[in-house]
């Protein structure tokens, strides 16, 4: 019996390792093609073209009075010709609305619209008296959360494509150009959504909603997350996009086909993982209707977000992610190994089920069992260490592989020292695994307890250089 167990565990270990290698290979292929293809792309023609589609950018704001002016300014100055910004004030209890009304000379307009998707009551729609701000629409609504605010924005916007933006991101000026391109290249398959790479802004110099200088985070936790994000975005999602199994477009920034989102019922307010749930629901619907579609991913850095720098905030974020994952997987359990959904059902969903949801639970049991073996002195130390070395070296080499991808693609960290720091973080990272396992188990327990809501994460603000008007973008 013991022999069987030992081999089963080892076989699963090998499957995991093999999945990494396969994803790495697919990702490398996709990246190489994208970069080659992109080296001939002239985005400028899209900026000036009268043929480029009109886009709505929807951002939700809750108690952002200190930063709202800069944030809106940043959004209004994005490098694209044909867009509107819809800012949703989600029932802020501070003077967010007053600040923005005053600065952008807003007045209430007689806006007639449909509640295509249910959302909390919209108290008013504002437009500016100043023609310079005619791209801006502000919605004031009763508090209902991020998903609800985005739904309100979708109800108001009239363009066929909309970009949803997270509350605490710094947007790259050319991000809209890059996001919209997959929709313009659409052929036999309808493009229903697209996402891109999210980078980490901790320790970067930020001024008036723009990044002045990129630095690797000084603290260990954000630095480890740089590694994690690089691996996830450049190795994982790129490969899943190529395999047509992409299940997540980050809530920080993504572009969607409005009609498909409305038909799907908009963002779900019942889950904290509304970004993943939306993609799953859209994909599910398209597959059930027999429509050829695709969810695409571009490896360009689109926006920068602040990540937790202390354990408490990290725990809040990660337990929330786990809850979102469990809720999304449970809601769409029909997809699991269902060939109707093609690769999503046979590859993408099972992968997330086994390796994202189930993995930490098994790992947690493993930790407990290991402790038991140590306490009862029944551990095979030489072999234990050998296996540890196997997993450790494999994990570190995958991380270094991801660093190489970053180096040959976007090369954002210019200093040699930064790369060396990143490499040393790769060596340290495996020792933080137990902490992440704990967060994931805790998230699962929260689901069982029926916990809802986002929890509170403490943000430290952006790094400042000299005298600041440096404010975080937090629309």
């Amino acid at each position: 019996m013991g022999f069987i167990f030992a081999n089963i565990f080892f076989i699963i270990t090998l499957i995991l390792s093999a999945s990494y290698l396969i994803l790495g290979i697919f990702s490398a292929m996709a990246l190489r093609r994208y970069l080659r293809k992109n080296s001939y792309v002239k985005y400028d023609s899209l900026v000036l073209s009268p043929l480029s589609p009109k886009i709505s950018i929807i951002a939700a704001a809750f108690n952002e009075s200190k930063t709202i002016i800069d944030n809106v300014r940043t959004l209004l100055s994005l490098y694209y010709n044909n867009f509107e910004v819809i800012l949703v004030n989600d029932g802020s209890t501070d003077n967010t609305l007053e600040e923005i009304k005053e600065h952008y000379e807003l007045t209430k307009v007689n806006y007639y619209f449909d509640y295509h998707i249910p959302c909390e009551r919209i108290r008013g729609v504002y437009k500016s008296k100043n023609p310079s701000y005619n791209r801006l629409i502000v919605i004031d609504k009763k508090n209902g959360g991020k998903a609800d605010s985005l739904n309100a924005g979708i109800n108001i916007c009239q363009n066929s494509l909309f970009v949803s933006i997270d509350a605490d991101s710094i947007i790259e000026t050319d991000s809209i150009l890059k996001l919209v391109k997959p929709f313009l290249e659409e052929k036999e398959r309808k493009v229903i959504g697209a996402g891109g790479v999210i980078r980490i802004v901790n320790s970067c110099d930020v001024e008036r909603g723009r990044i002045r200088e990129i630095h690797l985070p000084g603290q260990i936790l954000p630095r480890l997350q740089v590694l994690e994000y690089t691996r996830a975005f450049l190795l994982g999602r790129m490969a899943w996009s190529r395999l047509d199994g992409l299940m997540l477009i980050s809530g920080a920034m993504g572009i969607f086909d409005r009609e498909t989102v409305i038909k799907g019922g908009g963002y779900s307010i019942k889950t904290v993982g509304e970004d993943m749930e939306l993609v799953l629901r859209m994909r599910r619907r398209m597959a059930e209707e027999g429509v050829k579609y695709e969810v695409t991913y571009i490896p360009d850095p689109l926006c920068w977000t602040q990540v937790p720098s202390d354990i408490k905030s990290l725990q809040t974020q990660r337990t929330r992610w786990t809850r979102g994952l469990v809720e999304s997987l449970w809601t769409h359990r029909k997809i699991f190994f269902n060939k109707t959904y093609d690769r999503l059902g046979l590859l993408g969903y099972p992968f997330w089920f086994f390796f994202e949801w189930l993995a930490p639970l098994i790992a947690f049991l493993g930790f407990i069992y290991s402790i038991y073996l140590v306490v009862t002195n029944s551990i095979n130390w030489p072999f234990y260490l050998l296996l540890f070395l196997f997993v450790y070296t494999f994990a570190v080499s995958v991380s270094i592989w991801a660093i190489l991808f970053e180096e040959i693609t976007y090369h954002k960290y210019k200093k040699k020292r930064d790369v060396l720091k990143l490499l040393s973080a790769a060596l340290l990272e495996p020792f933080f695994y137990p902490m992440h396992t704990y967060f994931a188990v805790r998230g699962n327990l929260e689901v069982l307890r029926g916990k809802k809501g986002w929890g509170k994460a403490v943000r430290k603000g952006f790094a400042k250089k000299k005298k600041p008007i440096h404010r975080p973008l937090a629309v």
Binding site: T13, P50, L51, S378, L387, T393, P430
Partner: protein
């Protein structure tokens, strides 16, 4: 990270459970292999035998059933050791690649900068001064340097016209750089071909047109697009002829790129209405867009005909273009087709009616406001009525007092000038 954790734990579990095996001492075979490995008898043959013992797993091989001091099958242990060695080697190689790549990039950047400055001044000197081609030759000594020179010449040629442009094109040929570009155009790899096409198109060299024509039917969409663009630049007689032979999907991105090319380089315009009858609907949409952008109003009759095109994307665009170009002869057709169209086209019909206000359509538009439930249709129909000037506003005022339906909110929305 979670997946790594699982990896770690699963492996460790394998070790722990392994304890359940009966512990056995090191066997004779194991010792034999260990002796071989320790290098006491370091002949090639012996080493081969050692490898055979360790890595050739045959059913009868006793090694499969023997245990070593790890208390596991030696095959298993060796596989792990091999995996660890591979991982460490990969780590080291990747590390070296990362560091060397950085160094290479820095070096290349410096050289590139130097060459750019050098070539720029030489080109300016050649065009407006007395620099000779020999000076270029002395610098462009290898493939990399030649490539930088080609890129630079292409960049400069973009901003030149007339004699200067011809002069730089002749220099290109004089330095035999055209041979590099032609060779590239015939390369097997698509990204190299594209580079060749681009260079040839900018330098107006037609010697590789055969290769470019061939790429028009390529399954690679990027290559196909670049071939189209190159041909538009290189064909003097009929630059858009390729549209007549295009059977594949002509994406909006390709259309935007081509439109940009027409604008940027003053490409002579054909009458795009000839492609309104193309069997490829994406070619028809391109023709419609170009008719609108270049205001080819003589196409009105053809556009009226394709309002009933079987492809909805063509119908949608035809309605839009008719409105944009104020083609009033299409109004009646639009009115009649309205009830059989999908929502998107219905909305576009109403918008187009708003763009070409006509009193005779007011009755129809009122009907839309009354009968349709969709807010957007109601708003657009109200806007279309309003666009009829005084008569339209009067009709709206009358509607505001109607008891049949509460039109106030719609009309207020439409009359608010800040909303558009």
């Amino acid at each position: 990270m979670i997946r790594f954790t699982l990896l770690l734990i699963l492996s460790l579990l394998s070790a722990n459970v392994g304890r359940a095996y009966p512990s056995s001492s090191v066997t004779h075979d194991t010792l034999k292999a260990a002796t071989f490995l320790s290098g006491t008898r370091d002949t090639t043959e012996k080493a081969k035998t050692a490898l055979h013992y360790i890595f050739l797993f045959k059913g009868e091989n006793q090694w499969l059933n023997k245990k070593n001091y790890f208390e596991k099958s030696l095959v298993f242990v060796n596989a792990l050791i091999a995996a660890i060695i591979i991982s460490i080697t990969t780590m080291i190689i990747l590390l070296v690649v990362i560091l060397l790549n950085r160094k290479r990039m820095e070096k290349e950047e410096k050289l590139h900068q130097y060459l750019l400055e050098k070539y720029q001044s030489l080109i300016i000197n050649f065009l407006f001064g007395n620099a000779s081609p020999e000076e270029f030759r002395s610098i462009a000594s290898d493939t990399y340097r030649r490539q930088v020179l080609i890129d630079q010449m292409v960049d400069v040629s973009l901003n030149l016209k007339g004699d200067e442009r011809k002069k730089i094109q002749s220099l290109y040929k004089l330095l035999s750089l055209d041979k590099d570009s032609i060779a590239r155009a015939y390369k097997h790899r698509w990204h190299k071909k594209i580079k060749g096409f681009r260079e040839l198109a900018f330098m107006n060299i037609k010697d590789a047109n055969v290769a470019i024509y061939k790429a028009l039917n390529s399954t690679n969409e990027i290559l196909r697009m670049e071939a189209q663009i190159a041909l538009v630049r290189l064909c003097d007689d009929n630059p858009f002829e390729f549209l007549s032979h295009l059977t594949s999907h002509f994406s909006i991105w390709e259309q935007i790129t081509l439109h940009d090319l027409i604008i940027q380089h003053n490409i002579p315009l054909p009458s795009f209405q000839r492609w309104l009858t193309s069997p490829n609907p994406t070619v028809v949409t391109f023709a419609l867009r170009m008719i609108r952008e270049f205001e080819q109003k003589e196409s009105e009759d053809n556009i009226r005909e394709i309002l009933i095109h079987p492809d909805p994307s063509v119908r949608y665009l035809a309605v839009q273009v008719a409105g944009d170009l104020d083609m009033r002869s299409t109004l009646e057709t639009m009115k009649h087709m309205y009830k059989n169209q999908e929502y998107k086209i219905c909305l576009e019909i109403i918008k187009s009616m708003g763009k070409m206000p006509d009193i005779s359509m007011m009755g129809f538009l009122k009907l839309v406001i009354d009968k349709e439930d969709d807010v957007q249709l109601q708003i657009e129909a109200t806007k279309a009525i309003k666009n009829n000037g005084e008569k339209g506003v009067k009709a709206l005022v009358k509607l505001m007092t109607s008891e049949y339906k509460n039109y106030n909110i719609i009309i207020k929305h439409v009359l608010d000038r800040r909303i558009f």
